[in-house]
Symmetry: C2
Subunit: 693 residues, 2 copies
Amino acid sequence: MTDLSHVDGLLTPRSVAVIGASEDVTRIGGRPIAAMLKAGYKGRILPVNPKRETVQGLPCYADIDALPVAPDAALIAVPAKLVPETIVALGRKGCKAATLFSAGFAETGEEGEAAQRELVALAKSCGMRLLGPNTLGVYNVDIGYYGTFSSSLDTGYPLPGNIGIASQSGAFGAHLGALARDRGLGSSILMTTGNEADITVADAIRWMAQSDGIDVICTYMEAVNDAPALLDALDAARAAGKPVIALKSGRSIVGAQAAASHTASLTGDAVVADAVLRAHGAIIVRDSEAMMDIAYVASKKIFPTRDTFGVITVSGGAGIVISDEAERIGFAMPPMPTEAQTRLKAVLPYGSPVNPLDCTAQALNDPSLLEKFTRAALEEGGYGAVLCFFTYVAGSPAMSDIILKAVKPLREAYPDRIIAFCALGEPEVLKEYDDQGILIFNDPCRAARAIHAICGFRQAAPRTIPSAPPVTLPDTTPDEAGAKQILAGCGIACAPELAVQTVEEAVAAAETFGYPVVMKILSPDILHKSDIGAVKLDLGDADAVRAAYTDIGAAVAKHAPDAKVSGMLVAKQLSGGVECLMGINRDPAFGPVAVFGLGGIFVELLNDVAVQACPFDAESAREMILSIRGASILKGARGQSAVDIDALAQMLSQLSMFAAGAGDRLVSVDLNPVLALAEGAYALDAVIEMEDR
Amino acid sequence: MTDLSHVDGLLTPRSVAVIGASEDVTRIGGRPIAAMLKAGYKGRILPVNPKRETVQGLPCYADIDALPVAPDAALIAVPAKLVPETIVALGRKGCKAATLFSAGFAETGEEGEAAQRELVALAKSCGMRLLGPNTLGVYNVDIGYYGTFSSSLDTGYPLPGNIGIASQSGAFGAHLGALARDRGLGSSILMTTGNEADITVADAIRWMAQSDGIDVICTYMEAVNDAPALLDALDAARAAGKPVIALKSGRSIVGAQAAASHTASLTGDAVVADAVLRAHGAIIVRDSEAMMDIAYVASKKIFPTRDTFGVITVSGGAGIVISDEAERIGFAMPPMPTEAQTRLKAVLPYGSPVNPLDCTAQALNDPSLLEKFTRAALEEGGYGAVLCFFTYVAGSPAMSDIILKAVKPLREAYPDRIIAFCALGEPEVLKEYDDQGILIFNDPCRAARAIHAICGFRQAAPRTIPSAPPVTLPDTTPDEAGAKQILAGCGIACAPELAVQTVEEAVAAAETFGYPVVMKILSPDILHKSDIGAVKLDLGDADAVRAAYTDIGAAVAKHAPDAKVSGMLVAKQLSGGVECLMGINRDPAFGPVAVFGLGGIFVELLNDVAVQACPFDAESAREMILSIRGASILKGARGQSAVDIDALAQMLSQLSMFAAGAGDRLVSVDLNPVLALAEGAYALDAVIEMEDR
């Protein structure tokens, strides 16, 4: 088990020192104390303030050295310039973890960033870990610990419960906490990480993955500051069977350098982050409401093994609306078995027994229909989740007791299925269902989306990450032949080709391959060869090869007179198949990232690419390839024959292994086009950019 | 003003007869009476039941003839078999509009449908209009009229207010009503139309468009049963400045007949309905929650002229999340003017003055920042709508008075702008903002979506529908040359071409056009010519023309020996440009519908088409063309030159006029491909299918 004692100190302290403690309950140094007193913090609050004898009725200490014990946690609410000496004193006292509310560091510019770096180094030398700076702090409802100055508490305290929140942004994290509370959801832990100078959301996720009290983890990130730790934390959460619901904001481009290369311009870092986090089992959302909806479903700790959806309604109209939404999000709604349909048709001739199952308004006269149809959906339909659109019928005081009684045995009989109601009515009436483990939504489409996310949770098998053997790169960026040679060494197939130095060598090579052939200039200085006429296709005989040799030479002499030329490349011209592209770019957070797409409009207009952090195995590569919108083209849409997706997947995985093994000097790889044939896949062009040694 | 006296009778009756009145308040004949008594209906309730002297304390009449007055409305709650005599009696008494709760008609099959048709005819002969059958009825909160047996009232009564609901589905309509109520939204009118044997949602929308009390119209439809009336109603609502928020469910295919043709398989009728309703100003949603969100925004009756979005936050994180969502939905967030940025930067150095504007947590210490930033967004930013992410800060009792006082003058100073808060806290605190005209949401992304819908409302200019002159179709389906001749007569350009009868005529035609040319068989019996080798491209000289003539003849003799052949078509081969397709299909609700798409994968894999009901002008055609995802290809993406979109739009509009003028015998038109060139656009193939006379 990973050592998370520093997070223990932050989240479950037996004692907390408040440095800069204030009598004023609206000040940063006063709010946490007031909150803890009000919430009945089970530990010891140790105010530190040289100017006071007591603070909010508690004995106050003049300085850190005067504290009676080494505090488990320390809240630092002093001006930035006093922070270093505070840290030294805390370290001397034996404190292991401090929360740094103080702002005025990295968020203010370069100078602040330097100060922040020094602070972390200082803390490290004192044996301490830091949360923040510029953090709103943490809370742990279960022990009444409020190491936070969030004014969200002015609108009420969070409810205890099995949802944990880890947020980089303080205010957005507190918003999530308040949102949970206003919905009646229990979230015992909030940890906001601010500037993440040291401790990141990854630590919080890791801690919650190990915590007995937390079953669902919500996280908000703007930047991924420690990718390996984050992925490790996600893996730990998944291994513990706890869904992580993640919102990564920001759609900026991977980075100026990477953006210059073709494929990079298609891959915003949020897209990369989403792909990587998803591969590690995270459920990706883009707003706080969807996050809370999914957390609510997950909080019941039912993760069906089947990702199928049964819908029971008292309104045919609602059934259609829900089916429309289910289809849109890809939530399968298989029909009821035929025998069950026949049986239900006999029970209610004008209802619909298929899926959605419609009990019609007849259910008002005969409430047993609600139970019969719901039971049938669970028993005979076998759906992983059922949504009962009972709206105001379920909320009606006259009906709710009957329905509650009817649904209770179902809840018990199918402990592994999600049962949700779309219900309207007084909150107290609806709460009775919720208390029985029936999920309550007032919008059926929102319910469908949240339930779908959780039904898919167990299905997402952990990804096996292969180990990538180190690759030795040449000292400088190679030319195309050199690039292909390197890739061939890693198992990436190129079209048969030969580098030649004379026109007769070119003809000889062509004769060996058989016509038609392709010829291109070989030069590490010319990256976009066809733009200057240094590529000739469809050369059908020796004369054509000779003419092309001359023409390419002339074109290079004219357009790139200073380019270093190492000869020409003669390659067998492959035809047919489907043109794809594969590439590697460096993501500032996740390192080398592979991109796959079809050529042409799919990439250029539709941005239809899949991305994944390197390395990954062929199975993951296959998933990536099949995830693009145009994948049906590879499977043989439009009357052409299917291509060798296995070969493509193999190549993409090999490319990812190469990138992971190549280290930091690798800037980018561009295999464009890669020709996928009925059998095999070949890189027809290859550019490897690297930093010169 | 359209005569809507029958809807007046249904929605604002001074008296209502309840036929089949019941003492039992849970019965269909008892519920409405109980509801009206409870709500204090301002009119006269006239129970009719031969078996009782009184019903629920009211004097009861033995039969309709015994009623003291001709009732404005009648609620029919008797078994299906007694309905005809009831209608006759009501007509005799002078009643003009009856609500038919009784089920057992069209929804039960053919027999019921016939009975329903007879009922409408009977009612008509008695001078009456019918709501239903199989309807849940109507309510009008303002006069306490509850002509409904909906059990939604068991969970509480709707609140009075300016939102009206017209729903085909009874239960879904009542769900919408209950949803509005649970959110605290006032919706005075609900009308559910059930089987729509006579009165449809169009009547309800039309009535609400004229009603003083209703400013926002929500409508739910499964089928469009009277398209002209619906479009007329939408136009009336738009003319009255009232948004119609429409949910049309169901994704079924246009119809079996149309599905057989190529383009039809791409056009589900919900897609057609969405396009047509949108063209008539409706705001299209796909779930009840989005409907209520938008209705809430619209209920404040502020429709900004600028469709721009300013965001003010106390959390940088939330600002990013909101910006991500705004970009996704296409809600423009232009930056603040430079001078304003400079000024705000001076006020708050570590905030962000761009857009989103971030006041940071500093706003807690200095609440005036909230006002300053919000005012700047309205005054200097000039945004049509501002969203203030103040979360629990706005909900905090300590802050809410200060914020309320600060925002009030802004609300008054900018009456034409939407001001919304994302706020969390106690409902009573939040309601104070709402009472001041500040919209309150708890999720900022939902707020952005709803506000965007309303900001776009005023921008949607009414569509001018051109009048389509009648077109005379030939008696039978024409061959390609005939089809093109008909289209040419309507101004649709085809490639220069000539029908020929001999090989030498073919050569002569080719010489006239200049090579290369295309040759095809001319036969009304062969629709897919290239499949059988009856099309030859790239014919470069006279010999090639002669060979093609022979080959096509042989191919037809072999594969379609029975086809009626009228010669061959020689056409100039156009090249370059972009291949598009245009088509016409018949929609069961809206008649001829035009489809536009790019050729190839855009249509076949991506379903990237635009549809619109015919006829429409070139401006609407242009909008359609530019609305497809691949439109940038037409504008010159991927390094090729832009094509003549005006010519395409002209052609598409002409095609729509042709289709509208051609009448019911026209089954479909398929122009595939249409070649769009840098100048001009030409149909290279044309198939017109029609019913033989």
